[in-house]
Structures are given as C-alpha cells and as structure tokens.
Subunit: 354 residues, 2 copies
C-alpha cells in the first residue's frame, strides 16, 4: 500500500519523523506492506511565513532534512512549493495521509485544528502529535473522521511513549474501562521525588529539573497540574466514551508542596504524587487532578523521577498498569509511526493473527 | 455484524466466557456492532465422552449455563446435539467464529491443535485460551489463518489479564521490539516474595501458595520455570517474528533457592526474581529463563507477590513496562472478549479513530 503523505509542521518532531520514515522505509514495506511517499511538506518560520515543498513523485526526505539542518528552513529544496499556505497544500495535494506536528497551542488549538479538520473533511487520514486541537474539538474531529471514512490517530499527543490510548483502545478492547488514574507529568514527578529523596525545596527541585532540561522554561502548566489534566482528558474522552471539557475538571498542582507535607506523608509510609484520576460514577465520568498520598501497596509508589504510569481498572480484566520514562521529540515521532501502522491496519483488512 | 459462533470446551473458562457474552450482549452490539450468536457448543466429560448442543437459530446461553451448573454436562439442553464429536461440529456447523477453551495439553497440544487447525482451514476465525496448540505449531496455525483469510487470536493463552500480545502487536506496532523480559509466573513470584519478606523456606512458601489456591496441586512446571518459558515463547514468536522452540530455550527455575541466596541478594540491595528474557543479537532472537538479581532501579524490583510484569525494549519508543496481578478463568474469559473485539475490528474496516 503506497500512501501519498503530507508533512505539516517540520520542527523537532516532524524532522525526527522524517528521519524514521527514511531509515525504516524497508522495514515498513516488508513488515506492513506500507510505503509512505511524502508528496508535500509545509512549515511556518518564526515570522509566520509559510515555506512549502511539493512533488507528486515524492519528496526526497534525505535532501529535505539536510536542507532544513543547513538553512533552518525547507524553502531551498529543489522543487520548492514557494509560500503556499498549509491550507492550500492540504486542500490541493490529493494526499491520503497527513502527519501533523505543528506546535501545541492552548489558546485555540490553531493552526493544528484547522489543518486536521480540512484534511479529515477532504478525505485524508490524519496522525497528529498535537494536543491543542484535541482539547478544543476532539468530538468534532472524531465525527469528521467517521463521516469521511478516514482514520484519525493521536496517541503521540498523550504521553506519546507511554501507549495510553492504544492500551485503552486495543489491549482493553471490550473490557469496559471503569477508571483511569495516572502520573502523567514527568516534571512534577521528578520534583516530588527530589523533595522526598534529597530534602530539597520545591524551588530547588524545579531549578534542577530546568537545568537538566526536564522542565520547560515556563513550567507553569506542568506545576499547576494542567498538563496532567490535558493528557488525561484526551485519554478519558477517547477511551471512556466521555465528553468532558477542561472546565469540568477540578485541577490542582504541586506549587504549594512543602517539605513538611512530604515528611507528613512519609510518616504514614506514603509518598506524595500528582495524580490525575477519572472514574465512572452513576454512568457519568468524573475527573480530577491533585496531590495524593500513595502507600507502598500502590503500584505508583515505585514510579519515581521522570517515570510516568497509568493504571486502568476494567470490569473484565481487573487492573492493568503501564509505565515508562522519557519523553522527547524522537519518542513522539515513534508514537506517530505506531499510529500510522495501526491506522493503516485498522482500515485495511490485512492484520489477522496475533 | 452477526457472527455464528461455536464454543469448543465448556469448562471454567468456557462458562465464564458464555456468562460475559450473555451479560454484555447489549454492550457489544452498541459499542462494536457485534452480535455473537452461539450456534453450537461441545465439551468432553471426564470419561472422554462428547456432549454437544447445536441450533442454527442460536443456543440460549442462560439455559445452557443453568443446565451445566445443575447437571455438570450440557447434554440435557433442549435441542442437544447428542454425542457429536468436536471435529464433527467444527466441520459441519458453518460457523464463522470458534471460541476454543479446552484444557492445555503439553504432550501434544491436542485436542486444541486439531480443533484450531480444522476451524482455520475451514474458513472459521479462532480465538483460543489454550497454550498447548501454540507451543506445538504456532507457525502452522498462523499460516493457516493467513491462507484462509481468517482471524486467529490467542492473547488469553499468554498471561491473559496482562495484555502482552496486544501491547506488542498494537501499542508498539512498527516500533521494532528489541527485547522482552518478564516476571510471568505468579506462583514463583509469590514464593520468592514470601521468602524475602517472611524468611520462610521454599517449601513453606510453596505450601502457603497451594493453601491460598495460587499454586497448582502439581506446581512443577511453574517452579521449574517452564510456565514462564511457555508464555514468553509464544509472545516472542508472535511479537519478535521469531520461530523458537522450547528446546532452544535455556530454562531454570526456583526449586533450589535458599534463604542464603535471598539474603546474599539482599546484601547487595537486590531481590531475586525468576525472569524470562528474549533479546535480538545479530538478527537472531535468544531466549532464557532463570533467577536474576534485580536492584531497586529496575522496574521489576517493586513487582512482588502474585504480580506479573513485562518490560519491552523498543527502538522507537524506548522502554515500556506493563504490570498486573491476578489470573483466573474469569480474566481469561475477559481476555478472549478482548480478542474477539480486536479480531472483528482487524478484519472489518470499521475502527478508525482513537
């Protein structure tokens, strides 16, 4: 199966993805009968100007990556597309698949939201790493995909390397997930672990996280619990068939944690963890994010440092816990490859044993 | 989608499965457009005699379960099929799906092996909880499924409640699994945990496990590491595209563990665990099962008691750890439901978003 594909966004994730598609082309063809032919790419530079590339016969990813590395844009690619907008490219490319990796915008989900909507409505399947659009209109986008009979996958946007969405969707298929709880923010967990193990203050631990490149320069969304809430919200709406908005979620963070609180928990044999949890109660899903004391019997007790974890409770399979560590653009690209493979195999009746 | 279905085997797992199919009929129809209509069931009594039931218009599962509970066999079901053999039923039912849950036979995989072969060759999809056939001819069965263009799923046979196969197959799709290691036997892990935490001997801990109903009356296969090896073997052959036989695996168990060994490990800050591991080396997969010392940095350090866990290493997504607890016929039935849903959605181009 040969898929004409658009790369929309060519930052860290987009470049990592292109590298993997280049390196693993043979592997994907051999194992999944899948040939990703990139026929267009578009990016926006810091000034907001578009740069695009398109070629019906396939863009050479090796050249594209080299040019991007050397010149910081893709505009000098031999058959450059000029300053075509992303929308122009999406509407006129005739591609079957869009790989969207523009930066997350938490104000209105743009431009990712429009990209994805246009693609799905135009009959193009979509894989995205961008959380923004999912926070603003997951329901609408899923509906557009269903009506357009195309695929739409976004596991890379939800703690990418930790396969939360695929676990809920495939590994627990039909098993009735009744609750999901998770340690979903590596920065917060690192800070809480440092405070417990080294006796540091919140501020010291945060500074260390920033120095180590774990925490964002502006860590507010992490620290206040919103990053946890955003990830869980998308997972819960997808897996538990809910339609929650961020305003439905009671969110608190770790900004007020003191050594005293850490020690108080320790006195009870507990660790403090920032946990997002969602559970069904009377047919409704309720969700919150906040600090919890976790004792040594709980599977999260040993989830420390930058490790994340999620615990599913299901009616048919009991408890299943998933845990993993790092998150970076390379892993997000890996999660997008996973989504591409699953998307194709979902829509092609080719995968039958296992 | 309405599927005429055979139940082959009606022991603990088969009855649990029938209960779930009965209870969740509405849920499966509503959420997955799936209607499982049981048109036949067959079991063998302790004397080796067959009892069967068949009805083109659907067997009433409630009645079937009640009769089985009351009379220990299904033979007095109103439209009983007499003493038809399972092979006769499989070859002549015209069903589209077989749910196979006969007991595991480690001598030759029978009768499950013949059941599954006949079904796949006759154009019937198969979901099984039976490890036996997979140990003897996984390759042949997968080939039969591919050639017959039918589905074949067996995640229930590999630590059912812990979704090892679906994780490798979907959550890590296209991510190139380079190694799999796991604590896969609850009895062994319980014994090692008891020895470490309570200072008991191997024999005392085993006796306790048997008293609690965790260990088999004949725990030899568990204790000697073979149960771990069997589970990992099926997982590795499925996920890592290998073709290993049990004779390729160096297997040792926990039968010679002493308190001295436990204390020696503790002196180094380690716990002893029975671990199965498989890794690619020079393109070949190598696998072994044996005792290992695990330090507090390792994700398995906190996997204690009856908990099991598996750690996947992948080229694209780094480390992913999956852990879970209990295993019983109810959970095996849950795993079979998961397989039914995935099988149908794999073969029907209906599942596209998530």
């Amino acid at each position: 199966l040969k898929l004409d594909t658009l790369l929309v966004g060519f930052g860290n994730i987009g470049q990592n993805l292109a590298s993997v598609l280049l390196r693993d082309a043979d592997y994907l063809r051999k194992n999944f009968d899948l040939e990703i032919q990139v026929v267009g790419a578009v990016e926006t530079d810091p000034k907001g100007e578009f740069h695009s590339v398109c070629s019906e016969n396939g863009v050479d990813l090796k050249t594209l990556l080299e040019i991007k590395r050397r010149t910081k844009t893709i505009s000098s690619y031999p058959v450059a597309g000029g300053h075509r907008t992303s929308q122009d490219l999406i509407r006129n490319s005739g591609a079957q698949l869009m790989l969207e990796s523009t930066p997350t915008n938490l104000q209105d989900g743009q431009p990712g939201l429009s990209h994805i909507k246009s693609a799905l409505e135009g009959g193009m399947s979509v894989v995205t790493s961008n959380k923004g659009p999912l926070l603003f209109d997951l329901k609408g986008l899923r509906k557009a995909a269903e009506e357009g009979h195309v695929g739409f996958k976004y596991s890379a946007a939800v703690a990418g390397a930790l396969p939360i969405i695929p676990t809920g969707y495939y590994s627990l298929a039909g098993c009735r997930v009744s609750s999901i709880e998770g340690i979903l923010n590596g920065t917060c967990n690192f800070i809480l672990t440092q405070m417990a193990e080294r006796g540091t203050t919140m501020e010291q631990a945060l500074a260390q996280a920033q120095q180590m490149g774990i925490a964002e320069t502006n860590p507010k969304l992490d620290i206040q619990g919103y990053d946890t809430a955003f990830k869980l919200l998308v997972a819960v709406n997808s897996i538990m068939n809910a339609d929650l908005k961020i305003s439905d979620v009671k969110v608190s963070g770790i900004e007020h944690v003191t050594q005293e609180m850490i020690q108080q928990a320790r006195g009870k044999g507990c660790l403090l963890k920032l946990i997002g949890r969602a559970a069904k109660a009377d047919g409704q899903v309720e969700m919150k994010v906040g600090l919890e004391e976790v004792n040594s019997e709980h599977p999260f007790y040993s989830v420390n440092g930058i490790w994340k974890a999620v615990l599913f409770n299901t009616e048919l399979l009991g408890e299943v816990v998933l845990s993993g560590g790092k998150s970076n653009p390379q892993l997000a690209a890996g999660a997008m490859v996973r989504d591409i493979v699953n998307l194709i195999q979902d829509t092609q009746p080719t995968r039958k044993t296992g």
